[in-house]
């Protein structure tokens, strides 16, 4: 077991965990942040995507020790108070969320994309989300939601 300190959504947490425990499990089990989902557990589906030090990563592939001292941002960080983040609102408006399992990862990947490229083309959105699989296959509406949230006209 190893004590680590990690800032999650702006809050400092001290946890003592096995150093190889996955960040995904630290978030869900130790911190009770169940917005981040487990899909494939092998870095293919992006359901567990979070930001670590502002970089998009798959939390199922990250040992806890590697986030000691890091800033982690999960889907729970997006809404402020009762107000949805513009991306969340766009997903809701466009029908970009169906069963919901991929949605936290999609939102996180979209947040990262817009932080790097505030006005992406649809093709750039598709590439930005290419590591996120939607088992409902609702890709068209997801891409449209991100496009609208970026402020580009539909």
């Amino acid at each position: 077991m190893r004590p680590i300190t990690v800032m999650v959504n702006g809050i400092r947490h001290n946890v003592t965990v096995p150093p190889m425990k996955r960040l995904l499990d630290v978030l869900r089990e130790d911190l009770g942040l169940t917005g981040t989902k487990e899909g494939c557990g092998e870095g293919e589906c992006g359901a567990c995507a979070v930001l670590v030090n502002d970089e998009l990563v798959n939390s199922c592939l990250i040992p806890a020790l590697q986030v000691d001292g890091a800033h982690v941002c999960t889907v729970e960080e997006l809404a402020k108070g009762g107000d949805l983040h513009p991306l969340q609102k766009a997903f809701a408006d466009a029908g970009g969320a169906q069963c919901g399992i991929c949605t936290p990862g999609m939102l996180t990947a979209a947040t990262y994309l817009l932080s790097k490229n505030p006005h992406p083309t649809r093709q750039q959105i598709r590439e930005g989300l290419s590591g996120n699989l939607c088992r409902c296959t609702g890709y068209a509406k997801i891409v449209e939601a991100v496009y609208k949230a970026s402020g580009s006209e539909a």
């Binding site: 870095g43 293919e44 992006g46 592939l61 994309l113 930005g128 590591g131």
Partner: protein, 288 residues
């Protein structure tokens, strides 16, 4: 079935020397950088080792250094860094292209070039460009360091020239390909995130119509990524004509050893490899 996390040791190396000391210690430790291969094995319950030393944060492994005659990539340089680097994009464009093919954005932010090399998949996207660009590897251990031409690094399926305690620390790219034609095509089931059925990278230099430099490298058609030197020899010093292209295709067919597996068939791979070689040569021929 996940491996039991509690049984696994992981320490963060304070510097490269500490990492090398642990790698040489008994019983063995293994390096972990981005985790995009090792953690998959862990999650699948197939992880072999039990003691790991994290090296991804070490500054000497994370930099891309541009020197007069070469570009040096630290072993823990990520695909994202490779994609974004202006000198790599200008002089070694096949490497950023391969990086863009490797996994999604999240894995490109974590996965490293050194990790892709030691994982030693015959389908690794970064292997053909490293072969085409005559890369060599800097390998260190507590006993010292040595240099290995990347072309000699893979000795068999998932077998590499690394002794116990050794670690790749850097990849060196000689700056001799500016102005050459660069070609890369990966054929897979889908465009994003697919493992290749066949991947061909080629670089070619011409004076007039004469080929004065050429490298042809393929992935997923043998137990290791390979350079097709017999195909290259058919073209070097000659011009690109239907006859030389056909002879190079014949040579390539003899050099590759594709297999049937879940992703494709030997027959398909052999046919596509020949076609990609022709496409590379004709594209390079038409470039001017």
């Amino acid at each position: 079935m996940k491996s039991a996390f509690g049984d696994l040791e992981l320490v963060s190396a304070s510097d490269l020397n500490e990492a090398l000391r642990l790698l040489g210690a008994e019983p063995g430790w293994e390096p972990i950088a981005g985790g995009t291969d090792l953690m998959v094995l862990l999650n699948a319950g197939k992880l072999q080792g039990s003691r790991f030393v994290s090296i991804r944060h070490l500054p000497e492994l994370r930099s891309i250094t541009v020197l007069d005659h070469e570009v040096v990539l630290g072993a823990a340089v990520t695909y994202t860094s490779i994609r974004e680097h202006p000198v790599l994009r200008a002089e070694f464009p096949l490497l950023p292209i391969a990086a863009s093919w490797t996994g999604g954005i999240a894995n490109q932010n974590r996965g490293t070039i050194g990790g892709n090399i030691v994982n030693a998949s015959p389908a690794a996207d970064s292997a053909p460009p490293l072969l085409a660009y005559d890369a060599f590897l800097r390998v260190k251990s507590m006993r010292g360091e040595r240099t290995i031409p990347y072309r000699e690094f893979h000795t068999g399926y998932k077998q590499v020239q690394l002794a116990r305690g050794e670690m790749i620390t850097a990849i060196h790219l000689p700056r001799q390909f500016a102005g050459w034609a660069h070609y890369a095509r990966k054929v897979g089931a889908r465009k994003a995130q697919a493992i290749s059925k066949v991947c061909l990278n080629g670089v070619l230099q011409r004076e007039g119509n004469t080929v004065t430099g050429i490298a042809v490298a393929l992935g997923s058609v043998a137990t290791t990524p390979i350079r097709c030197i017999a195909a290259e020899a058919e073209l070097l010093g000659r011009s690109i004509t239907p006859q030389t292209v056909a002879r190079a295709q014949e040579a390539l067919s003899d050099e590759i050893k594709p297999i049937d597996d879940v992703r494709s068939t030997a027959l398909y791979r052999a046919r596509v490899a020949r076609n990609l070689l022709a496409e590379f040569l004709l594209t390079a021929h038409d470039a001017r």
